[in-house]
Each structure stands twice: as structure tokens, then as C-alpha cells.
């Protein structure tokens, strides 16, 4: 796939899946997309292994943008990026943006063939500076 991939990480699998549904409605299959949510026992939380898996599922040589909800989702995503092979780690960014709006905006930007930097910037326009 030649477009930037999008990963959605929420504490709640249902939030992540719902956000992914909204992204699909906007961009169809134009953008590699994966989501994960929940801790390793299935409760609310996030899980480094699941995030790594989602990054690999949404992989694109143009890179992957991750949208996260609360604190632990960001910290666990940072950890997951560091655990990727170096040639992949440099092509994955976390967007500082609201998870649902950010995912939809980032994916819409990505579907037009934008670079990873452009995708991240578009999502982050949603956050107050």
C-alpha cells in the first residue's frame, strides 16, 4: 500500500473499533488501518504487544501514524515504537490529537497520498497549540 497507515489505540477495544469504523466510512480501503484496545487480561487498558501487532498490520513503507486516547496509551505506544526494528521505528509517529477526530482527519489526509509528516500535522491541527 502506498498510503500512510493509521493505528488507533484506545483503553477500550470498543472505542478503538468504533473509531476505526468511522475511518473506514471516510476512506474505505485506501489506507492501511489497524486498531487495538484493552489490557493483556481483556480489561480497560493498553498492551504493548497488541500495539506492536497493530503497527505491523497497518504497515506502509510511507510510515504509520498512531492515534491514542489517554496517558497509558501514549506511553505504551512510545514503548512499542522503541521495540520495533530500527528501520521501522523511524517511520512511526504518535499524533497529539483527539483519538476519533484525529484518526478520521489523519486517514483522510493519508488517503490523498500525503507524507507521514503531513498526516501527523493535519491530525495535530485539532489540538490547541
Amino acid at each position: 500500500m502506498s498510503n500512510v497507515g493509521i493505528v488507533i489505540v484506545s483503553h477500550s477495544p470498543r472505542v478503538a473499533e468504533g473509531a476505526a469504523d468511522m475511518v473506514r466510512q471516510m476512506v474505505g480501503n485506501e489506507v492501511p488501518l489497524a486498531w487495538c484496545g484493552g489490557d493483556p487480561s481483556g480489561g480497560l487498558g493498553t498492551n504493548v504487544e497488541a500495539i506492536l501487532d497493530a503497527i505491523n498490520r497497518a504497515w506502509s513503507d510511507k510510515g504509520v501514524a498512531i492515534l491514542v486516547d489517554l496517558g497509558g496509551a501514549e506511553t505504551n505506544s512510545e514503548m512499542a515504537i522503541e521495540m520495533l526494528p530500527p528501520e521501522r521505528a523511524g517511520k512511526v509517529v504518535i499524533c497529539n490529537a483527539p483519538v476519533v477526530e484525529g484518526a478520521v482527519m489523519a486517514a483522510t489526509e493519508a488517503s490523498g497520498g500525503a507524507t507521514l509528516v503531513q498526516v501527523q500535522a493535519t491530525a495535530q491541527e485539532l489540538s490547541p497549540a
Binding site: 493483556p40 498492551n47 506511553t75
Partner: protein, 196 residues
């Protein structure tokens, strides 16, 4: 400093302490966070304890790296990467500078601060880890270091949270001990119990 038997005992003692206090940690976290700290920490340290044979048969630096990796993969909250980073960095630093326990501990606590984008005095685990690392560097006795851990965890009660979920509460975070500071003190105490 540690042979395989000691390391094994220490790991199991820490895991038992975390398990024994899981409800307390969850109660603290329910007051100012999302109420999962006890369950998350118990899951992580149970996983470490379950793997104790494979971990304790390594040299200390490698064992610490294995503990850190296990915590990162199993805890499931922000405390996973934070405690994971603590043990991972401790192991990497000890491998790079054998025997410099105080230097390695300070580097490891700095790495936790960087991971959490936090600093001393913000009502987090750092409020225990930094004073403990400083006391250890300054050559304080074991009983003094344990007293520092206990006192500094309790002192988070009067602070306002700046980082983490508790910061959403603003002033209402004052009056509760920080769960991460408490779990850090518990771990320091459990390690202290098993060391000479």
C-alpha cells in the same frame, strides 16, 4: 552482590509484596486514577514470578532486562512502560558499568522521568525513586533508605498531581497518596528485606 538464589528470593519477595498489597494499590488508584494499578502491577509481577527460573539463572544485568521486558509486555497500564523502563535501564546501565549500582539506579530513574515526561515533586513514583536513588548514592544505611521510601511515599499525599490521570482532578488530587509512589516504596521495601 547477588547470586542466583538471592536473586530468586528477591524476585519472589517483590512479587509477593505486590500481590499482598494489590487491593491497597487499587484503592489508592480508585481515589485519584482509574483504579487499575493494583491489578496491573499484580499481573506484571505474577508474570515475572512465573518466569523466575528463566530470569534468575542470568547475570544480574540480563535478569533485570528480562524483568523489565516482562513488565512492559504484561502490566497493561502506563505503569508497565514506566516500571519496565526502570528495570530495563538498570540492567543496561549495570551491563555498561559493572558494579556502579548507584550510578545505574540514578540513570534508570532519569529514564523513568523521561518516559513519563515528569519530574520530582509531581506526585508520581519519581517522588519515591529519586530520594531513594539519592540516599543510596550518598551511602545511607539500608534502614535509612527504607525510611526514606516510606516517608516520601506518604509525603505525596499533600501534593497536587501534575502528570498522569490524577492530574485531571487538579486540587482534588490533594489528600491521597499517589499509587505509583506507594508501589515504588513497596518494591524498595521488599528488595530491602532480602538484601543484607
Amino acid at each position: 552482590m547477588m547470586d542466583e538464589t538471592n536473586l530468586r528470593t528477591t524476585i519472589l519477595t517483590v512479587a509477593a509484596a505486590v500481590a499482598a498489597h494489590a487491593d491497597e494499590l487499587t484503592a489508592l488508584d480508585s481515589a485519584i486514577g482509574d483504579g487499575d494499578h493494583g491489578a496491573n502491577m499484580k499481573r506484571g509481577f505474577d508474570a515475572v514470578a512465573a518466569d523466575v527460573d528463566a530470569i534468575a539463572s542470568n547475570e544480574l544485568p540480563e535478569a533485570l532486562i528480562k524483568i523489565g521486558t516482562k513488565l512492559v509486555m504484561t502490566v497493561g497500564g502506563a505503569s508497565g512502560p514506566l516500571y519496565g523502563t526502570l528495570f530495563l535501564t538498570l540492567g543496561k546501565q549495570l551491563a555498561a558499568r559493572p558494579g556502579d549500582y548507584a550510578g545505574a539506579l540514578l540513570q534508570a530513574v532519569d529514564a523513568v522521568a523521561a518516559r513519563g515526561k515528569s519530574e520530582l515533586g509531581q506526585k508520581t513514583m519519581l517522588d519515591v525513586l529519586y530520594p531513594v536513588a539519592h540516599a543510596f548514592r550518598d551511602g545511607k544505611s539500608k534502614s535509612e533508605i527504607l525510611a526514606v521510601a516510606e516517608r516520601e511515599a506518604a509525603a505525596t499525599k499533600d501534593r497536587r498531581a501534575i502528570r498522569g490521570r490524577a492530574s485531571f482532578l487538579g486540587e482534588r488530587s490533594v489528600g491521597h497518596i499517589d499509587p505509583g509512589a506507594r508501589s515504588s516504596a513497596l518494591i524498595v521495601e521488599a528488595i530491602g528485606e532480602t538484601l543484607p
